[in-house]
């Protein structure tokens, strides 16, 4: 109910602002809706959204897996940390644009370059978060594992991983928002399809309804994935916390 109300306030503000500014700069909601319906009708909307989502998914999975593994290693092994730390700091502060442009120059305007560039942007934050997580692992529980001779894989799954879960969730959360932001830039600069590409076209043609049509549907998709996928998973992995007295 509250959400609906907040949405209604948003729509009303938009509409009011559009009437004040004139349709040239800010089209009214029905105009944008018409653009969305036209794009949906031609199938372009779903195709571009699908392409962008696929890139997001691939880059996200790649960066999370690699980042978690590297972060865990750096948190557990001092040598790995000392070797990796300068690179980590470099990557952490390298502007996304630099990575994307260099990836396109070196690997060509290819899908691999785009996905790698997005993944590299997200990678260091995952590494940092997981390294922090690995550093806080409880030595007392490691000793318990050793005393009861719990097999390595079982210990990792049931003792280590649950301790890392909050850090994994944090890395996924911040990483996902980073990927959402960067994927469009990567598409704008070097892909012939996707939401970012369409927004680039709309910008060049000054087609504001089209620009807003893509931006808003993209925002909606992000919102749906957050509430339908990310939040329930978070709730599930921390359910033992909720039950604690």
């Amino acid at each position: 109910m509250l959400r609906l109300l907040s949405f209604a306030v948003f729509l009303a503000t938009w509409w009011g602002a559009a009437l004040l500014a004139g349709g040239q700069k800010l089209p009214t909601p029905p105009v944008v809706l018409a653009a969305i319906i036209a794009e949906a009708g031609s199938g372009a909307l779903f195709f571009n959204l699908g392409v962008t989502l696929a890139r997001v998914a691939l880059a996200f999975v790649l960066a999370m897996t690699l980042g978690a593994a590297l972060g865990y290693l750096m948190g557990r092994v001092r040598l790995a940390n000392r070797l990796g730390d300068p690179w980590l700091i470099l990557l952490l502060h390298l502007p996304a644009l630099v990575v994307i442009v260099l990836a396109y120059i070196w690997a060509g305007l290819t899908e691999v370059a785009a996905i790698a560039a997005i993944a590299i942007n997200k990678l260091p934050t995952a590494v940092v978060t997981l390294r922090e997580g690995a550093r806080t692992l409880d030595v007392a529980l490691d000793e318990m594992v050793a005393v009861f001779a719990i097999p390595r894989w079982k210990a990792f799954r049931h003792v280590i991983l649950p301790q890392l879960a909050p850090y994994l969730a944090a890395a996924a959360r911040s990483g996902l928002s980073l990927v959402w932001k960067i994927v469009l830039v990567a598409e704008l600069l070097g892909r012939p399809n996707g939401v970012g590409f369409e927004i680039g076209i709309a910008f060049q043609l000054f087609d504001i309804p089209l620009l807003l049509a893509y931006s808003l549907t993209f925002a909606t998709v992000v919102l749906v994935i957050e509430t339908a996928l990310v939040q329930p998973i978070e709730a599930r992995i921390s359910r033992w916390r909720l039950r604690a007295a």
Binding site: A140, L141, E143, M144, A146, V147, F148, A149, I150, K154, H158, V159, P162, W240, R241, R243, A244, A245
Partner: protein, 236 residues
């Protein structure tokens, strides 16, 4: 399982760079199935000794003889349960081969029946201690280490838990190390009592108790304690 421990020296360097010797010439032996009870001043190095005997700390001088392959069960000073697993899942993680009947028996003996599906965060310290005991016994150990399992529990609960430990230790042959600062607990549970010096710790007196545990009445226990008092050991 027979156990021979001879720790010549165990030292560590603290954050300020000073070297501290915790154990020096720490020697004792236990026959298979015996309960060795260690009594000593707090902070004397009892837990350090247990960690070495358990194989958690390799950084010491000396040697420890225990049969390889002996199954170890341990109750740490804190329960060390996994907060994200239920009581039963905690026990089963350490003892995957324990059968249901045996586990039910164990949970019943320790009064944990109604808590099997609870999470550790929902338990009192006394209950969590009992879960840690259940876990140690569920693995059917040949070698059991109990690090002050009764500390910071109220007297009634400590007495009940002590009886439960006695029953469990008596039900099968388990070589047991029990660390306590309570002479009463030591006299009631131990087959051999070891009294320790302050740091660096060593065994200053090893006293066997001839009467079997089950046959020790209150009078007998008082007599043993009086003997210890005469030796001026009981108030170490």
């Amino acid at each position: 399982m027979q156990l021979e421990v001879d720790i010549a020296s165990k030292a560590y360097t603290n954050a300020a760079g000073e070297r501290h010797e915790v154990l020096a010439g720490f020697k004792f032996a236990l026959d298979a199935g015996e309960v060795g009870a260690f009594v000593g001043p707090s902070g004397c190095g009892k837990s350090t000794m247990l960690r070495i005997v358990a194989g958690l700390d390799q950084d010491y001088q000396g040697r420890i003889l225990r049969p390889s392959g002996a199954k170890l069960g341990m109750v740490f000073q804190e329960p060390r349960l996994l907060p994200w697993r239920s009581v039963e899942a905690n026990v089963r993680l350490a003892a995957p081969r324990a059968d249901d009947a045996r586990l039910s028996e164990l949970f019943a003996a320790l009064g944990l029946d109604s808590h099997r599906s609870h999470f550790p965060g929902e338990l009192s310290l006394g209950l969590a201690r009992r879960v840690a005991l259940a876990r140690a016994f569920a693995v059917e150990p040949d070698f059991l280490i109990l690090d002050e399992p009764l500390a910071s529990l109220d007297d009634a609960l400590a007495a009940r838990l002590r009886d439960q430990i006695a029953t469990l230790v008596g039900s099968r042959s388990v070589t047991t190390l029990l660390v306590t600062h309570n002479v009463d607990d030591a006299v009631r549970l131990g087959d051999r009592l070891f009294f320790l010096s302050p740091r660096p710790a060593r065994v200053v007196a090893a006293i066997p108790i001839a009467t079997p545990r089950a046959a020790r009445g209150e009078a007998e226990i008082e007599r043993i304690k009086a003997d210890l008092a005469r030796l001026a050991l009981a108030n170490l």
